[in-house]
């Protein structure tokens, strides 16, 4: 009863490995396509807009539009609640920081030789190697920049993972080799859920749900949860702080499982100056 996350560059056979692990372990499989369709259904946002939210890179670091920030919050929420049920293989990088501190999540990165990936793409999509090279490099850069802008992480940093598998360095049948390695690793006691780690996962999912509930009020707030107690850290213009706190508390208290809400407000100096308040 564990969670396996697999990230990989495009055409690295990551998706194929993730699906095979799920099938062999009889776990559920999820990827960004599945998650985005669930988000679209729950929050009524067209999938095309959600795709933009996970692909587009802001010109200035951290400066996403309010709508895109909301969409990312919705995606994080659905993802964390979806993997809460355990016994799941998740292929993708979205929501990565949220599972970083969960001990029963095995985090796997699949890497492959760039030339092999280019050949793979050219063969699969019937295009020239030159065109395939451009696309693979562009997609790598895009994914790296997106993760840095949204989550402030470097997806290529091996320290983020429990297991980094370089396919092509294992044996002739590299997918089978990666599959065996992942399955043998996740069976280790270290990756079994504990009362502590299940509570961490529930707290993370609750914090994301609170952010989604309040995303229309403030998409930049910080939220922490512990066993139904929710701590919200937000900014507001002094005059409006009391109303904002009240509105946030009322909305969050309606959520299932919330017992107590505390809101901490910092003076929003930028808005105070901008609005002359």
């Amino acid at each position: 009863m564990s969670i396996i996350t697999i990230t990989a560059g495009s055409y690295s056979k990551g998706e194929q490995i993730a699906k095979s692990v799920a099938k062999r372990m009889e776990y559920d499989f999820a990827d960004s396509e599945i998650i985005l369709s669930l988000v679209s259904r729950e929050f009524g946002v067209p999938e095309s807009k959600l795709v933009k939210a996970i692909k587009d890179i802001p010109l200035t670091v951290g400066l996403f539009s309010q709508a895109k920030q909301q969409h990312i919050i919705y995606i994080d929420t659905v993802l964390t609640e979806h993997i809460l049920k355990n016994n799941i293989v998740y292929y993708g990088a979205i929501g990565f920081p949220f599972i970083q501190e969960i001990s029963h999540v095995l985090k796997v990165q699949i890497i492959a030789n760039l030339e092999d990936r280019i050949k793979n793409k050219a063969k699969l999509d019937g295009e020239s190697q030159q065109k395939a090279r451009k696309t693979v490099i562009k997609e790598d850069n895009q994914q790296k920049k997106w993760a840095a802008a949204v989550y402030d992480i470097d997806l290529t940093d091996p320290n983020l993972y429990d297991l980094v598998i370089n396919i092509g360095h294992i044996q002739d049948d590299d997918v089978e080799g990666a599959l065996e390695t992942i399955i043998n690793t996740v069976k280790h006691k270290k990756f079994q859920p504990l009362t502590y780690s299940l509570r961490c996962m529930k707290n993370v999912a609750m914090s994301c749900r609170v952010r989604a509930t309040l995303a229309d009020i403030d998409s930049k707030m910080q939220v922490k949860s512990d066993e139904g107690t929710v701590y919200i850290y937000t900014k507001a213009v002094k005059k409006k702080a009391q109303d904002k706190v009240l509105e946030m508390k009322q909305k969050v208290m309606r959520l299932e499982g919330v017992k107590h809400v505390e809101v901490y407000v910092d003076n929003d100096l930028f808005s105070t100056v901008a609005h002359g308040q």
Binding site: I102, S103, K189, K190, L194, T195, Y196, S197, C200
Partner: protein
């Protein structure tokens, strides 16, 4: 057939043990409470307990050392770690060394009782834990 679970409870903060001991006795467990990890270690060497519940951060002997000592003495004793300093690394180290479960402080007696019930179940004593 065994009627009561033998539990050793170790926490250097008296308040923790004093709160948990009656809660466990209430559900039919025999509890030996220790605040001094060295005394607890001596008792572990003398007696095979069904369950050992131990804090991690204690002076002189830490919870991982307690876990290792229990493992030397008995393969079947379930060790439950209770800690206010839970991290991914600690959770994985504890599991690697044979802990049964880990609970982050603060927790309620009910939280602990449900872990004890799971441990009793895996020891084959399904009916020992009575409903409080």
């Amino acid at each position: 057939m065994k009627e009561k679970l033998d539990i050793l409870l170790l926490d250097d903060e008296a308040i923790v043990g004093n709160r948990l001991k009656p809660a466990l006795k209430k559900v039919g467990c025999d509890v030996e409470l220790f605040e001094d990890p060295k005394k607890a270690l001596n008792r572990i060497r003398e007696k095979k307990f069904d369950i050992v519940i131990t804090d991690i951060m204690m002076p002189s002997v830490n919870g991982i050392q307690i876990l290792e000592e229990v493992r030397k003495k008995s393969d079947i004793t379930k060790v439950i770690i209770i800690t206010g300093y839970a991290t991914v690394a600690l959770a994985r180290e504890a599991m690697d060394k044979g802990a049964f479960d880990m609970i982050a402080k603060p927790f309620t007696p009910d939280n602990l009782r449900s872990v004890i019930a799971k441990a009793a179940d895996s020891l084959g004593y399904k009916k020992i834990i009575a409903k409080a």
